[in-house]
């Protein structure tokens, strides 16, 4: 009976162990799989023509002839959109129209001055042109159909006047006629509403299709291209087609999202059919293609991480990790050797050990501030350098951060080297230092490598310590240790806190995080393989 109970408990315990392992793996999979999958979509995705244009402009990559042909096709399709917008904008925008009228009037005045004519006639014409201008401006600004018609009629009366023929004033009549024709379909009272709605419509179109060819090329690279990815394009298209509003249906209830077609805003105008046009000709405008953008891993990023890849970030992360390991490795081993070999368990050692343990629990932002105050503002100027954050200071800060981990792991490793090795070496007449370097250290190397693995994982992923000591969100590839650098961790932080940036470039955010995870994974695997090799060699297989 007791044997059976023991057997059952044994089985249950085994099952619990297996279960906990499975749960752990499942949790890890649940967390990592979506991140890695979405991060993967930064490399493999459906790219639009805008993406190919961007690649050609910024990285000089792609087939120019084919792109030109595609571009012609898509521009042909887009032309209608831009034209309609331009025309509609012209007529509802009273301010622009007023400015234009005033400008023409001034030019006309100058023309008159140059002409040889009697003073009275000059004065007459001048005041007449001003009257026309004023009347037009009243008509542009008014929302009363009657006033508009009246004023326009007054103005157009002078159209036949021979004195205005072949002068710049003739343009005024053309504008008036255009305006008269266009406002027939527009409810004048809603002109301001149209203007606001059109502004938003235009903004979304710029994000979707790229900037309007009739306007100058935007200064910022991120404004020069429309949606580069099909998923972003679809997102923007939805934004274009549907107007989202949050409304409170009844007091005390949470707000509800209500979507209405944006086309309703432009009911009856020439903009209205544009919505269907864009939706129906979506593929023709974007010419989407499956894209394998492996250069994501080597490309520079544009400001704001809008386009491009994570090349400098990967390099920066690797550099930072490497440089900090250069500090951590010797200092960690020497400290561990002192703690394990040279010291007896006295008061000072207890204090040191306590300090190391406390250090391991200090929040990383505190290390960041310490790094700023000590390395950047004090130590670098002390040696005559320019006091600015750089790779060196960031690596030193990271080294300080991870030293406790390294020291503890190394101390354990050194302590676990069999006493008999030391006895054998000392028995052959070797000194303490010689024994440590030639016998103890090689035997402790696998354990020390474990410390290195832990340190690398910590260092590569830390953000807070390098915040003030050497990381930048965007910049050139560092040339030496006294340059600041981009890193994957800091850049993804930058996207996350950037103004709505994370919503605009989610693929890049995921891409960075996935790259960071993969990078740390690869570094760890490399270190683990190295450790296994050394262990095998030590064991003699």
């Amino acid at each position: 009976m007791r044997f059976i109970i023991r057997h059952i408990t044994d089985k249950i315990f085994t099952m619990l162990t297996v279960l906990s392992v499975i749960v752990l793996v499942a949790i890890l999979a649940v967390i990592l799989t979506p991140i890695l999958w979405k991060g993967f979509s930064a490399v493999v995705f459906t790219g639009t023509i805008e993406f190919r244009k961007m690649q050609l402009d910024l990285f000089n990559r792609g087939d120019i002839d084919k792109l030109n042909e595609e571009n012609a096709r898509s521009q042909l399709c887009r032309k209608k959109v831009y034209d309609t917008i331009n025309r509609f904008k012209q007529n509802i925008d009273a301010e622009t129209l007023c400015d234009k009228t005033a400008q023409i009037c001034r030019t006309f005045g100058k023309e008159l001055q140059r002409k040889d004519m009697p003073g009275t006639e000059y004065q007459q014409l001048r005041s007449l042109s001003r009257e026309i201008r004023d009347k037009l401006q009243i008509a542009f600004n008014s929302s009363d159909k009657k006033i508009v018609d009246e004023n326009l009629k007054d103005v157009l009366k002078y159209k036949a006047d021979i004195r205005f023929k072949d002068t710049s004033a003739a343009q005024l009549f053309a504008i008036a006629e255009n305006f008269a024709a266009d406002i027939k379909n527009i409810d004048l009272a809603k002109r301001q509403e149209y203007a606001d709605a059109l502004k938003e419509f235009e903004n979304i179109t710029v994000k979707l299709l790229g900037y309007n060819p009739s306007t100058p090329v935007p200064a910022l690279k991120m404004d020069r291209y429309g949606a580069t990815r099909l998923d972003l394009a679809q997102k923007n298209l939805n934004k274009l087609l549907w107007l989202e509003k949050w409304e409170q249906t009844s007091p005390g209830k949470p707000m509800v999202k209500i979507s209405t077609p944006r086309a309703q805003l432009f009911a009856g105008t020439e903009i209205e059919p544009l919505f269907d046009y864009i939706r129906d000709n979506f593929d023709e405008m974007f010419i989407p293609k499956r894209t394998f953008y492996w250069q994501y891993l080597i490309d520079d990023s544009t400001p704001g991480h809008y386009f491009g890849g994570v090349g400098p970030e990967i390099l920066g992360t690797l550099l930072l990790t490497l440089v900090s390991m250069v500090f951590v490795f010797p200092i960690g081993i020497i400290s561990a050797a002192y703690l394990a070999e040279c010291s007896s368990d006295n008061f000072i050692i207890k204090i040191i050990r306590m300090a190391i343990n406390t250090l391991a629990g200090v929040p990383s932002i505190v290390f960041g501030l310490f790094g700023l105050a000590f390395f950047v503002l004090y130590l670098i100027p002390l040696f005559g350098g320019a006091s600015k954050p750089c790779i060196l200071t960031a690596a030193l800060t990271l080294a300080v951060l991870t030293l406790p981990v390294m020291i503890r792991a190394s101390e354990e490793a050194i302590r676990s080297v069999p006493q008999s090795y030391k006895e054998a070496s000392l028995g052959l007449g070797a000194g303490k230092l010689r024994t440590f370097i030639c016998v103890v250290l090689p035997a402790a190397l696998p354990g020390i490598l474990t410390g290195i693995i832990l340190s690398i994982s910590r260092v590569a992923g830390e953000t807070a310590p390098i915040l003030f000591t050497g990381a930048i969100a965007f910049g050139p590839t560092p040339k030496n240790a006294f340059d600041p650098t981009c890193t994957l961790s800091y850049s993804s932080y930058d996207i996350a806190v950037g103004d709505r940036l994370a919503a605009l470039v989610p693929h890049n955010q995921y891409g960075m995080v996935a790259t960071l995870i993969t990078l740390i994974f690869c570094l760890n695997i490399a270190a683990i393989i190295m450790r296994a090799k050394i262990s095998r060699k030590l064991k003699g297989h």
Partner: protein, 254 residues
């Protein structure tokens, strides 16, 4: 035998671990080019005495000693003793085979390298010579680069002997060298000891009475930190003068 000058001489030598007695008032002379066995029950101070001879006991902190322990007429506990020199003259083989986790070649070459021999051909000559002396050459000559830990227990112990011989010591201390080995490996080591005594002074600590009888010329019986009896092996085993010795040897003790 007794007409030779002793190579190791203890004169009222005492050794304490803190307040605990290791050995007390040991006076004995060990003669060159012979095998001297030290026998006695566990904790009697045999190993302490052995480990005092090359001062490997220094590894343990908080020890004190009294009296004199002379190796080649120099007191090893003298303040200006050169430890490296002493330990190269007095080689040691431990209870458990402890080759370094390095190749066989590097293990044997460790001592010569410490002495500053760097030339590959010299090292190769020494390694071959010492491995032959330790009767291991024929078994490992083809894979000197193999890790020492891949060898069997008996081979490892012979490798340790070769390693100890490589510094050209006069004295070889053996602290129960066969206690972890099977009878065949033990037999090989004993043959080796027999062969080595023509060139080296060997002091061996053993729990195995038959082994002591087989290999040693002289034997010392320790008990509770004291030297009870020290004579030729045949006398100790056939006609001991002390009751304690007889009890121990005949198995009535411990």
């Amino acid at each position: 035998m007794t007409d030779k000058k002793p190579i190791i001489k203890a004169d009222n030598f005492c050794f304490y671990y803190g307040t605990k007695i290791g050995v007390e008032n040991i006076s004995m002379e060990i003669y060159p080019k012979s095998v001297t066995a030290i026998i006695g029950p566990s904790g009697c101070g045999k190993s302490t005495f052995l480990r005092s001879i090359n001062r490997i006991n220094d590894l343990i902190g908080n020890t004190t000693n009294k009296g004199a322990l002379l190796v080649k007429s120099h007191n090893v506990y003298d303040k200006n003793t050169n430890l490296a020199n002493l330990r190269q003259q007095v080689g040691m083989v431990f209870q458990k085979a402890n080759p370094f986790p390095k190749s066989i070649f590097d293990n044997v070459a460790y001592g010569p390298r410490l002495q500053g021999i760097k030339k590959r051909s010299d090292l190769q000559r020494i390694v071959e010579e010492k491995l032959k002396a330790a009767a291991l050459w024929n078994e490992v000559k083809d894979d000197l680069t193999k890790s020492a830990l891949a060898l069997s227990g008996g081979q490892q112990q012979r490798l340790c002997i070769a390693r100890a011989l490589a510094t050209n010591p006069d004295i070889l201390l053996m602290d129960e060298p066969c206690s972890a080995l099977d009878p065949i490996a033990t037999g090989k080591i004993e043959d080796l000891i027999d062969k080595l005594q023509t060139d080296y002074t060997i002091v061996i600590v053993t729990h195995n009475m038959q082994q002591a009888a087989r290999v040693s010329k002289r034997a010392a019986f320790f008990c509770l930190g004291n030297l009870i009896e020290y004579d030729t092996t045949s006398t100790i085993f056939s006609n001991p003068s002390k009751k304690q010795t007889e009890d121990y040897i005949t198995g009535r003790f411990g």
